[in-house]
């Protein structure tokens, strides 16, 4: 795509070929006014949402555990992703699993971003956001729904979670459910530890898990 645009941004760089022999006569037409695309994009976001054409809206927000990708469908927040997960790869998966009509649309994530800000500032203990849990199925969904009941500053072990969801032998599957949580931070898989109190794993990295637990312990 840039290969097509580049001849016009630098029209004198190469002698014009027979098919592009406009000698720069068109140059002023080829300039896009500064800011035009940003305002057109913002207008498109609103029009697309009004027309019900968006499968997923997303935004990226800074946080103490690195830049977070927030993605939502009409039903609610569907994905939170750490920078380490590669946001482009995450969006590609959303395109395949939910639909490719995906636009960066920060206005649609404003409420989620605000609540996350409050949480990281120690001013919010639970999230009050509609969630779209369609990326989780079966036992994993059961586990993740249970996690939302573990209160701020509290922790449970993988074994306790397995017992509480009625499948005490499924400790390993609880670990898998936590490791594939599509909504980390908001659905608090960071509050699940090993029985001996050690951290276990975390898809945002152990540093992020430690930071979240420290934040909740201090608040």
């Amino acid at each position: 795509m840039t290969a097509i645009q580049s001849p016009f941004s630098a029209p004198t760089a190469a002698p014009p070929g027979p098919d592009h022999d406009h000698d720069g006569v068109l140059d002023p037409v080829l300039e896009v006014p500064a800011g035009a695309l940003a305002s057109l994009h913002a207008r498109l976001e609103d029009a697309a949402a009004d027309a019900g054409l968006l499968d997923v809206a997303y935004a990226t927000v800074p946080s103490p555990v690195g830049e977070l990708l927030l993605a939502a469908t009409d039903r609610g927040l569907v994905r939170v992703a750490f920078a380490g997960e590669d946001h482009d790869a995450v969006l590609q998966v959303l395109a395949e699993r939910i639909g490719p009509r995906i636009l960066r649309s920060p206005r649609r994530l404003e409420e989620a971003a605000r609540q996350l800000d409050e949480y990281f500032a120690g001013r919010r203990r639970r999230f009050d956001l509609p969630l779209d849990r369609s990326l989780s199925k079966g036992f994993r969904l059961t586990v993740l729904e249970h996690l939302s009941e573990i209160g701020f500053g509290r922790t449970e072990s993988y074994a306790e979670v397995a017992r509480l969801v009625g499948n005490p032998n499924a400790v390993r599957a609880v670990g898998t459910a936590c490791a594939t949580n599509p909504l980390p931070v908001v659905v608090p898989c960071h509050r699940v530890l090993r029985t001996d109190g050690s951290l276990g794993g975390y898809l945002g990295g152990l540093e992020a898990k430690t930071a979240l637990l420290a934040l909740e312990a201090a608040a």
Binding site: M1, L44, Y58, A95, L103
Partner: protein, 186 residues
């Protein structure tokens, strides 16, 4: 496997805006056409074949939106027997010589091209589509699209290079392809 539509907007948004401006001029009509193009493209995106040429697809949609805009403008315009005399807001082309100053004259010259030439210039020189794709959008042969684009560029160059009296497009070198074409046909 389809990339998120955001990548389509990021990758082609500027090109489509250039095309809309070339076809409709730099005013709000071009921005409306851009909007309608990407909104229609978003709706149709899930059904787009994975191997489609995305830029040609977008320019085809932009073409339809631009044609709609031109028709709508024609419907809005009130026919007038006597046009009021007024100074051109675009300035006198003869006095505009630096590239920046020539810009209004270029827009005016572009707007005055016959539709087919302006569209061929927009889709080939501005969008970068090969003549085969341009012909697919405009109808006719690739050779006809090439001639329309060449005639359009020739006219623009002539209008911007000197006083209109010495810049009759029909006498400029852009007519030479016709001779060559006849040679081919013999």
């Amino acid at each position: 496997m389809k990339t998120p539509f955001e990548a389509i907007v990021a990758g082609h948004g500027a090109t489509v805006l250039r095309v809309c401006r070339a076809v409709l001029g730099p005013g709000p009509d071009s921005e409306d056409a851009w909007q309608e193009t990407f909104l229609a493209a978003l709706g149709a995106y899930p059904a787009l074949p994975a191997d489609a040429n995305v830029e040609a697809w977008l320019v085809t949609i932009a073409h339809r939106k631009a044609v709609d805009a031109v028709r709508a403008a024609a419907r809005r315009a009130l026919p007038a027997e006597d046009l009021p005399e007024a100074a051109s807001p675009l300035g006198n082309p003869d006095e505009l010589r630096s590239p920046r100053d020539r810009e209004p004259a270029l827009w005016a010259a572009l707007a005055s091209l016959p539709d087919k030439q302006r569209l061929a210039v927009a889709y080939h020189h501005v969008a970068g589509l090969p003549y085969r794709e341009v012909a697919g959008i405009l109808g006719g042969t690739p050779e006809a699209a090439r001639r329309a684009a060449a005639d359009g560029i020739g006219t623009l160059r002539a209008r911007l290079a000197g006083p209109p009296a010495t810049a009759e497009p029909r006498t400029s070198k852009i007519r030479t392809p016709k001779i060559r074409r006849e040679g081919v046909l013999q």
